[in-house]
């Protein structure tokens, strides 16, 4: 049975969230609906995100932190 993924979206980004059962334990499947890029997050990674300080999260939100970098262009 197909279960429609939950979507978190706004004017800036749109990401689908599903709980994936294919691996040896459950994980969160995230898909950037603008590009189709997919990332899985396991429980320990999710817990880590919960505890990520705002400042560290802000660093990751810098458009050139891991994406749109001159050296990758």
């Amino acid at each position: 049975m197909y279960i429609r993924p939950d979507i978190v979206g706004n004017e800036f980004a749109e990401v689908s969230l599903t709980i994936d059962e294919e691996a040896n334990s459950r994980r969160l499947r995230l898909e950037d609906l603008k590009t189709g890029k997919v990332r899985y997050l396991d429980a320990l990674e999710l817990e880590t995100l919960v505890w990520l300080p705002e400042g560290n999260l802000a660093k990751l939100l810098d458009p050139s932190a891991d994406r749109w970098r001159e050296e990758d262009a």
Partner: protein, 431 residues
């Protein structure tokens, strides 16, 4: 890591624990080989922590970041697949205080956090970090990771590990047994085996060698398994009779097989080896014939192997056993049904047959285990000291591959096992 890093015998002795040349003769072996704790400790060093040992199958960690807990003898091994797809064999021991890092039998995680003090490792074994890093002078100050099994080898998806940093390659170790794994895998219409049915663990209060020897002992089935053969109205018992054209073959390096193909060829019925017909599994048969064409007939007639791969992997046609030695008188058998990729019809039947024969109320393994435990009690008796392994020695032949072949009920496989064992424990010892 070196061998000396691995805790083995309590004595720490590196010399032979016993005069193996005297205890292992061509036609008989001494009872102390099954009962001596010192010999068991020596076996851990010279066999289990040195040669190639089967650990798990790649299909058990199909997704990136999947992991399963496995073992090499008493060693607790985490088999992981890192995000890049690489398979790793890590020791389940925190580099800090030696606690177990993983508790669950299986999971999916890119990293492992020890529950004791929070030291955290990538699933490659590399250290990620530790809490309150000031106590160590800051981040990244410790170059400590999880222990690794030094060599990992994969053949047809079967993952083996060796604690010896060098030595024979996995393919050299498998030698003639490779062909038997190939025979199993080609019974999948997609050419892949999947070990996804889950494991049952059977504890046997017996020495691991009694199990390894029994796996290709064609002499016992008509006695020990008479009840299941009669209940199931099975023709398998006759395959292990004196009139059978099946053979027992020593494959070298301690591996052995009961080669039942001569009987299956004589009968000439596709899937007869599995006790069924093509009509009962039409989708599987069609898929096999589509993949293999004319060769499918022979593949379906000859069936799956019955092979014991030294020291711990036993493929019994549709079932797979791994032997885990824990003490001179304690062994755990991990049992699962083989599954063929792309063959749901067959897989369901194989699972049912597996449960019937080696499940909790199964009628095959319980009989064998009863024999193992009686045997362990018996070999501890003081007289006559020896176990006889001469059956069929006078009628053995060398086949076209240069391998020793005996009759269906002969102890050719056992003699091959002991020849390799003796080599590993004497002139082939680690220096």
């Amino acid at each position: 890591m070196t061998l000396t890093d691995i805790p083995t015998s309590s004595s720490g002795a590196r010399g032979p624990a016993a005069p193996y040349d005297e205890l292992i003769e061509a036609q008989r072996v001494h009872g102390s080989l099954y009962t001596s704790p010192a010999i068991f400790a020596d076996e851990l060093e010279q066999i289990w922590y040195r040669t190639w040992v089967y650990v798990g199958h790649v299909s058990e960690i199909a997704e990136p970041n999947d992991y399963v807990r496995k073992n090499i003898g008493p060693q607790d091994v985490i088999m992981t697949r890192s995000a890049d797809g690489e398979v790793h064999l890590l020791l389940n021991r925190c580099a800090h205080r030696g606690n177990l890092v993983c508790e669950a039998d299986a999971g999916n995680s890119s990293s492992f956090r020890c529950p004791y003090h929070g030291w955290t490792y990538r699933n490659t074994g590399d250290m990620l970090g530790y809490p309150f890093h000031g106590g160590y002078g800051g981040r990244g100050k410790l170059d400590l990771g999880l222990g690794r099994v030094p060599r990992v080898g994969i053949y047809q998806g079967f993952v083996f590990g060796s604690f010896a940093p060098d030595g024979p390659t996995l393919e050299e170790h498998l030698g003639e047994a490779k062909g038997e794994i190939d025979r199993l895998v080609r019974l999948s219409p997609e050419g892949e085996v999947e070990i996804t049915a889950g494991f049952l663990k059977h504890k046997a209060r017996a020495n691991w060698k009694l199990l390894a020897e029994n796996e290709t002992d064609g002499y016992h089935p008509q006695f020990v398994h008479a009840s299941i053969f009669s209940v199931a109205q099975s023709g398998i018992g006759a395959l292990y009779g004196e009139k059978s054209t099946a053979v027992t073959r020593a494959l070298g390096n301690g591996h052995s097989e009961n080669d039942l193909r001569p009987e299956f060829r004589r009968i000439g019925a596709p899937l007869g080896w599995f006790g069924t017909t093509e009509e009962k599994v039409p989708e599987y048969s069609a898929a096999m014939r589509a993949r293999y064409g004319d060769a499918a007939e022979e593949i379906l007639i000859e069936g799956a192997p019955h092979v014991m791969i030294f020291p711990n992997l036993f493929i019994a046609e549709i079932q797979m056993f791994t032997i885990q030695p824990l003490a001179a008188n304690l062994t755990v058998q991990h049992v699962t049904a083989v599954q063929f990729k792309g063959a749901p019809e067959m897989n369901k039947r194989m699972l049912q047959q597996c449960i019937g024969s080696v499940g909790p109320a199964g009628m095959l393994l319980a009989d064998d285990t009863e024999m193992y435990e009686r045997n362990q009690a018996g070999v501890a008796e003081l007289r006559p000291e020896w176990l006889d392994v001469r059956r069929g020695v006078h009628r053995e032949e060398i086949d076209e591959r240069g391998l020793t072949v005996g009759g269906a009920t002969d102890e050719t496989g056992m003699r091959g096992f002991w020849k390799h064992y003796k080599h590993l424990m004497t002139e082939g010892r680690a220096q």
